[in-house]
Symmetry: C2
Subunit: 366 residues, 2 copies
C-alpha cells in the first residue's frame, strides 16, 4: 500500500493541456502575440513570419485555446442552447440537425436539452445555460405560462422561436420566430376531406397552450366555415403524445352524448388530427374500438414525421419543412447575435398536403 498521502501533487503537472504561455515561451514571443496570431480576427496585426512560427509551435504542442478562459474574458462561449419540449417526438431531430449543421459552420457548439413540456424545468435550463454564457437560444418549447422570454431578456440572451410561436400578447413581437403556416396547413387537410365527400368532420386538437394547437384549431374552424360546414365535434388532447391521442379519440368515438342508435356512433366520418404523434394514439383507439381507419373513418395528421409513411394505413398528413425551419432559425439567430439591434422577423413556412392511405371517401350510411 501507499504511504499516507505522499502528496504526489507534483505541483499540478498539467500533462493535460498546454497553455498559451507555453506556446509563447517556446516561440520566443509574448503571450499576447500568440493570442493575436491565432485569432483569425486579429491575425492581421502580426508579422506573417511570427504568425507562421506561432502556429507551428502551437500545434506542435497540441495547444487548444481554453473556451472557458476566453469566455470569462469575452463574455461569450461560442455555444448555442436549444430547448426542445420532447425529443422523443421525431419531428425534432431533423430540425435540430439542420440547426446544428448551420451553427457548426460558424464554429458554434450546441447544447440540446429537453424541457419535458415543463415550465419549471425550462426555466431551470435557461438559467443554467445563462450561467454557462450561451450566446444564443433556440426555443422549440414555447408555450403559455412560460417565462422563457423574460428570462432571456433578463440575461440578455438573443433567442429565436422555432415551430411554435408565443401566445399572443406575451411579447411575441419582441422575438423572431420561424414557424409553419398552421392555419393554412390544416386548411389543406379540410379541403382534402371535403373533396373526398366528407361533411361530418371532427377535429382532434392539441394542448391549447401551444400555438400550433391553437392555430390548427382556428384554421380548422375557418376552413369548415368556408365550406359552409359545421364542425362535427372538437376534442382536445391533453398533450402531444400518443397516449393523449388515444384517450381523446376514444372519447370522440363514443360520439357527442351518444348520437348513434346504440349511443356510441361517432358523429363524424373523418377526423383532422392536430399532429402525427396524436395519430398513433388515434390508430390505437380505433383498433381497440374495432373501427377501420379510412374504411370507417378517415384520418389526417400534421407534420409528416418520419416513419408515418409506414404505419398502416399510411398516414395522409401535412408535410412541414423541417430542414428549412432549422436552417432559417439558425441564420436569424446568428444575424441577431452579430447585430442585436436588428429588426425581429417572423417567418412562416408553407406546408403541403401528402395524400396516403388513411383517407378515403366516406362509407355509405347503412
Amino acid at each position: 500500500m501507499q504511504p499516507p498521502a505522499p502528496s504526489p501533487l507534483r505541483g499540478v503537472p498539467s500533462p493535460l493541456r498546454a497553455t498559451i504561455a507555453d506556446v509563447a515561451r517556446e516561440a520566443g514571443v509574448h503571450a499576447s502575440t500568440v493570442s493575436r496570431a491565432l485569432n483569425p480576427a486579429t491575425r492581421g496585426m502580426v508579422t506573417e513570419a511570427v504568425a507562421q512560427r506561432v502556429t507551428e509551435v502551437a500545434d506542435r504542442l497540441g495547444w487548444r485555446p481554453s473556451a472557458v478562459a476566453a469566455g470569462l474574458r469575452t463574455r461569450k462561449s461560442r455555444t448555442i442552447g436549444i430547448l426542445v419540449p420532447d425529443l422523443i417526438n421525431p419531428i425534432f431531430p431533423p430540425i435540430l440537425h439542420a440547426v446544428e449543421t448551420v451553427l457548426a459552420t460558424q464554429g458554434y457548439v450546441t447544447l440540446v436539452a429537453n424541457t419535458d413540456n415543463d415550465a419549471a424545468r425550462e426555466s431551470l435550463l435557461i438559467e443554467r445555460m445563462a450561467t454557462h454564457l450561451v450566446d444564443g437560444l433556440i426555443l422549440a418549447s414555447a408555450a403559455a405560462g412560460t417565462d422563457a422570454l423574460s428570462l432571456c431578456a433578463r440575461f440578455g440572451i438573443p433567442a429565436v422561436l422555432i415551430n411554435r410561436r408565443m401566445p399572443e400578447g406575451a411579447g411575441c413581437a419582441a422575438v423572431s420566430a420561424v414557424t409553419n403556416d398552421d392555419i393554412h396547413g390544416i386548411g389543406l387537410a379540410v379541403d382534402h376531406l371535403v373533396a373526398l365527400g366528407h361533411r361530418r368532420i371532427a377535429h382532434l386538437a392539441g394542448p391549447q397552450g401551444v400555438s400550433t394547437a391553437r392555430d390548427r384549431r382556428t384554421g380548422f374552424l375557418d376552413r369548415m366555415r368556408h365550406h359552409g360546414l359545421e364542425p362535427a365535434e372538437i376534442t382536445t388532447a391533453a398533450a402531444y403524445t400518443r397516449e393523449a391521442g388515444r384517450a381523446a379519440m376514444a372519447a370522440l368515438l363514443q360520439g357527442p352524448a351518444g348520437t348513434g342508435p346504440s349511443g356510441n356512433e361517432p358523429g363524424c366520418t373523418a377526423v383532422a388530427v392536430a399532429n402525427d404523434m396524436l395519430c398513433l394514439g388515434v390508430y390505437d383507439a380505433m383498433e381497440a374500438a374495432g373501427r377501420r381507419v379510412a374504411a370507417d373513418i378517415s384520418v389526417t395528421g400534421f407534420n409528416d414525421m418520419p416513419f408515418v409513411d409506414r404505419i398502416h394505413p399510411a398516414l395522409t398528413t401535412i408535410r412541414i419543412q423541417h430542414d428549412a425551419m432549422g436552417r432559417q432559425a439558425a441564420c436569424i439567430l446568428l444575424a441577431e447575435m452579430a447585430e442585436p439591434g436588428l429588426a425581429r422577423q417572423s417567418i412562416r413556412l408553407v406546408p403541403e398536403l401528402v395524400v396516403r392511405a388513411s383517407t378515403a371517401p366516406p362509407a355509405k350510411a347503412p
Copy 2:
C-alpha cells in the same frame, strides 16, 4: 461599519449580471465569504446568520455564480457531453432522456451532439467539448476507425460507452460500457423463427464497423449452428439507415446468384435483420418486389424502437432496455468522475423477444 467601498465603476457597467463582489458589498462581507456561504460544500464554514443574510442578498440581486469563472478556477464545468451517431434513429432519444434525467439530479447540464457517423466530425466535437471543459463524455457513437478514446485519454476526460462497445483490442478494457447482450438477443430471434418452422433463414447485417452489427452477426451464426442449420444468406447493409436496409434487402431478394426457377427466388423464408431502422427499408424493398412480410417472408428486427408496433405488419423484434441503459451509463460516469481510479465495468443488459405480426410459419413450397 466599513467606509463605503469606492466603486470605481470604470469600464462598462454590467446591467446584466451581478457579480459575487456586488453581493459581498451589499451583505457587508468579503467575497470569499459569499462564495463559502453559497457553496453547499463549504457552507458549514460560515456562521448560520451570515449564510442566511448572504443567501438573502444573493437572490435579491438575482445573482447566479458564473459557471465559466468557476470552471476556469476549478477546471470543471458541470457539463457532460453526449455523442450520438444519428439522432434521427428513434432509439436514442429515450436513452438520452434517461441519461439526462440522472445527470440533472446532480446538477449537470448535457451537451448533445450528432456525429453523423463521421469519425472526423466526432473528433472535432470531442476537441470542442474538451475546450469547453466537459467533465465527462457518454459515447453512443463507438465504431472502428475512431480515435474518440485516445482523444478522451489525451484530454483526461472520463468516458462511458453506451449501446456500442469498442472494437476488440482498441483499448476496450480501458473504458466502461453499457451495452445489450446482442449475441443473446439475436439468438432469441433465431429461436423464434426456428420454432415457427423456418429452416432457410437469412441475416441482414449492419455495418461491420460497429459492435452491435458484429455481435448480432456472430450471434446469428452461433445460434443457427446450435440448431444445426446453415445460414441461407448474409447480406450487409452499408449503414443503419432505412435506405441501406432497402438496398440490402433488394439485393437479398434477388437470391444468391439466382437460385429460384426464374433466377430471382430468394433463398430464404425468413430474415433476421440487425436493427429496426433497417427493417423499414426491408419493408420498402419487399413492397417494391411484391412480396408480403410474414406471409411470404418473415422478418425480425432489433431494438423495439418507438412506433414499430404500428408499422404494417407490426414488427416482431428484440426489445432493449433503453431506460436502464441510459441510467446505468450516467451512474457509472458519475462514479468514475468522482473517483477516477475506479475499476472499469462492462454491463451487459439482457434484451427480450417481442412477438408481433411480421413473423409467421413459412409458406408451404408450391
